[in-house]
């Protein structure tokens, strides 16, 4: 046997080579200067507006300043950007025509769903037209036998499940914003949700896509079986945050509604023992559908809202465990969960008595983010993932960071996945506080990556974390990502400035700026 030499294991170690600032990420590249706004037009050419109106109709092409103002951000209210125009197409053909028209006038474009994203993925990058999919809301086909549905991107996540419930099926990915977010947006962000623990994220449920490519052509990816020889282009497209093209039709996998569902609430003095109980469950061999933890401050906010579910306000943390599957297995699994929670000293365990109570628990969990609007004018919803075993220590660390910066913190997270959502309450009008929020956010991300975690588990990189990519990846790692983007979106016209650090991109989109025509290898 040849001697086993350990290759570099970058996931585990922080990158000594990768420096701590975005600037150094760019190394000695000659075009290393920020240029996102380089020479982008400040308003849409009149002729283009005429073309867009002809394509989608006058009432579906918004250009007045008030209209554009309302579209300046999605769920992330920081760093707003006003689009040049907003178009609301209804069909694939209209999307393709809009793309062609924008290209003709050298105008960038950004796809947008319901605007519930939390990383600014649907922010209009400087000088771009927003292509909003909120009118593409048709369910085109449902095949109950082969368990798939074909939908337009504007179909609302929860409404798809409602529409197929009578067939005994549902659409499994359930982001907390599911009552408003669209399947198209879910595809762009590879959205997760509480039930990803058992069912996986959006990527596990997308079989095929119809995409308007950045050059305006219509391309089909994947097929109804969900498998295709060769690189998984559907898989690469899901989670690409609208930077590879605009999805216009989605074939989703449908899942049978489990025969039995049991939801348990375990009440703990503190989040740390709750996290340890999660670890015990993971080790026990039972795979719950979901394991969620909400902390005291979150409970307070939720219980004050329309989503109140009777959670105990004096509890330090509540662990929600949902089991589903065959009825014959429920009893044993419930016993396992009880044992795991009791071993960590939980105060009490309740089982949802009926479907109504179960749904109430979930509405409380899913309304948690919005409910925190009660705590302060603004809310920074963070998203990071750590290996599950590090949850207890990282929660302590995050608490310490927020205390140090004098910030109000509430935690609600997908404990089974190690997916944290530290929510920081603030008031953006207070510049000093805003600066502390940003600083604390950065420290949280660094703490997570230091233990082998990543900077986002389900909200995406967008504009929010684009310049933190270096915490996880070194410049070499990013290079193939540029290759992927360039293969779909060679001139960078589609959703520029998102997901991977911009500087290279800006230069890419403007070859003359870099003074040569090819990227050196």
């Amino acid at each position: 046997m040849p001697q086993r030499e350990k290759p570099s294991k970058p996931h585990l170690e922080s990158n000594p080579g990768a420096a701590s600032s975005p600037e150094s990420l760019l190394g000695d590249r000659p075009w290393a200067e920020s240029c996102e706004a380089t020479a982008r037009p400040a308003s849409a050419p009149v002729e283009l507006i005429g073309r867009l109106q002809a394509i989608v109709g006058r009432e579906n092409c918004l250009t007045r300043s008030g209209e554009l103002f309302a579209y300046e951000c999605d769920g992330l209210t920081l760093e707003p950007r006003r689009p040049l125009a907003v178009v609301l197409p209804e069909t694939t053909e209209e999307v393709a025509k809009v793309v062609h028209a924008c290209r003709e006038f050298d105008i960038h474009f950004v796809p947008r769903g319901a605007g519930t994203g939390l990383s600014g993925g649907a922010h209009a990058t400087a000088g771009s037209v927003l292509i909003e999919c909120s009118r593409m809301t048709r369910v085109l086909a449902v095949d109950a036998e082969d368990r798939f549905a074909i939908v337009q991107p504007g179909v609302v996540n929860a409404e798809l499940s409602t529409a197929i419930r009578h067939l005994g099926l549902f659409y499994a990915p359930d982001p907390s914003s599911q009552q408003a977010c669209t399947i198209g947006g879910n595809v762009a962000e590879n959205s997760g949700g509480p039930h990803t623990l058992k069912y996986g994220t959006t990527t596990n449920h997308i079989l095929a896509l119809e995409v308007v490519m950045p050059d305006g052509s219509v391309q089909h990816l994947g097929n109804q079986t969900g498998e295709m020889p060769g690189p998984d282009l559907v898989g690469a497209f899901v989670g690409s945050e609208g930077t590879l093209g605009i999805v216009t039709e989605i074939t989703v996998r449908l899942t049978p509604i489990p025969e039995a569902i049991e939801t348990m609430l375990a009440i703990f003095d503190d989040v740390v023992p709750a996290c340890r109980a999660v670890g015990r469950v993971i080790r026990s061999g039972v795979v719950p559908a979901a394991m969620e933890i909400v902390d005291r401050r979150t409970i307070e906010a939720v219980e004050a809202s329309v989503y109140k579910a009777g959670l105990p306000k004096d509890a330090g943390a509540v662990l929600i465990v949902e089991l589903d599957g065959s009825p014959v297995c429920m009893e044993g699994e419930i016993r396992t969960i009880r044992e795991a929670c009791n071993a960590e000293g939980c105060q009490a365990i309740e089982l949802a008595r009926d479907e109504e109570e179960r749904l109430r628990f979930w509405r409380a969990r899913k309304g948690a983010f919005g409910a925190m609007g009660r705590l302060a004018p603004d809310l920074y919803v963070h998203d990071a993932v750590v290996p599950r075993i590090h949850l207890p220590e990282i929660l302590e660390k995050i608490g310490e960071i927020c205390d140090r910066h004098r910030l109000k913190l509430a935690n609600v997270f997908h404990a089974g996945d190690g997916n944290l959502h530290p929510n920081i309450c603030f008031d953006r009008r207070d510049e000093d506080e805003l600066a502390r929020v940003i600083q604390a956010g950065e420290e949280i991300l660094k703490a997570c990556t230091a233990v082998g975690g990543v900077i986002t588990g389900e909200h995406g990189v967008g504009v929010e974390k684009r310049d933190y990519m270096h915490l996880v990846f070194n410049p070499e790692d990013l290079e193939p990502m540029y290759w992927l983007r360039e293969s779909f979106n060679p001139d960078g016209v589609c959703n520029p400035g998102k997901l991977i650090p911009t500087t290279r991109f800006c230069v890419e989109s403007n070859p003359k700026a870099r003074g040569y025509d090819e990227v050196p290898l």
């Binding site: 009432e59 579906n60 918004l62 007045r64 300043s65 008030g66 209209e67 103002f69 309302a70 579209y71 951000c73 999605d74 769920g75 209210t77 907003v86 609301l88 319901a114 605007g115 519930t116 909003e132 909120s134 009118r135 809301t137 504007g154 609302v156 929860a158 409404e159 914003s177 009552q179 408003a180 977010c181 939720v302 004050a304 809202s305 329309v306 989503y307 309304g367 948690a368 983010f369 919005g370 409910a371 925190m372 609007g373 009660r374 004018p377 603004d378 809310l379 008031d427």
Partner: protein
Amino acid sequence: MSADLSNSYGGAPSLASLLDRSLYTDTLDCVHCGLCLTSCPTYRATGRETASPRGRIYLMRGLAEGLLEDTEVLEEEAFLCLGCRACESACPSGVHYGEMLENARSAIRTEQAREGRLPLAAKIERFALREIVPRAGRLSFVVSLLGIAQTLRLDRLMMKVVPARLAEMMALAPPVPAAKDRCAMPPLTSAVGERKGRVALFEGCIMSEFFGRVNDATRLVLSRAGYEVIVPEAQGCCGALQAHSGDLNFAHDLARENVRAFGDDLGDIDAVIVTSAGCSAALRDGEAWLGESGAKLAGGVRDILEFLDEVDLDLEFKPIAKRACYDDPCHLIHAQGIASAPRRLLNKIPKLELVPHANPEACCGAAGIYNLTQPDMSKRVLSPKVESLAAAKPQIVATANPGCAMQIASGLEEAGVNASVVHPIELIEQATRP
């Protein structure tokens, strides 16, 4: 007229001065999560962010903070809003959207009047809502005229000659009831059997003209249930329509009149019973509108269905063998959170089969006089409602608000669906008739 009207807007905040008002602080409750989007009928119909609660609030905030100067879009979108407040039921942050909307509309109208650009339609609307609707005699006169026109079949002829908007209004109006059903209610109805309490009935303006039968059914059921019912004579319009149209100050005046009519401390009245969801929601706003002085009346208000569900109803129900759908009025479910009480009551009626239909909590598009002011959007909002009701194939559609009843009835008729539209209290009255 216009000069007169603009003067009378005085006192309400202008858009520019929103910054100093509570409205701005209220906009800060919204964290821009978007959970309200799909609950909003106008967002669903248009897909526009600006036609959603989140978008409208963002515009208000932007104007208040001076980040946005153009008021045009908010002026349009604020009045395109149905005011159904379904977004409040969806909002985890507890944003008081309905209140913000009324304040914003009031500010907009004030600003428009000040700048001498109040739209003609708004002037007409204001005139009607100030000079006709709250004045029982004048309203009764107009309704009588409509009744005569309907009897002589003149209405169809007139529709061809009057402006389209007016024709729409006339088409929406239900048949004017016979004169005997439009006469005043008896000031006192004694309890049948042992007296359990004393309640006051709030008649409402549109209710008493077009739905006197509902008020009468209410009176009878209350009496059978052991309540003495008084109908204070000095009571007037609740002010809901005025507040929704941006005439908040006038609405506050109406509210003050009602406080006087029902007595500052309500006296020995256990509750003020209201049969129209729009009115009960507005009366409950009394405290927000008038402060301390409005609190007592606001606290005493009960929707009839809510009241009957709360009290120990000791009545025998006879069967009504019909298939019925209950459709939630927005101002009952979203503004007052009353959803299960009406269903529990209807379920007491033997053989009445309560069948579910899709989205009973969605707005029907009536929204006060929205179907008159925004007829196109009103129809777009109505059509999914009619579809979902038609699919459930009911013989009876029960809903607890006059505007909704008229709107749904006209929608069902147009779609050729043969179902009668009634207030749930009418069914309860029928079932409990001795």
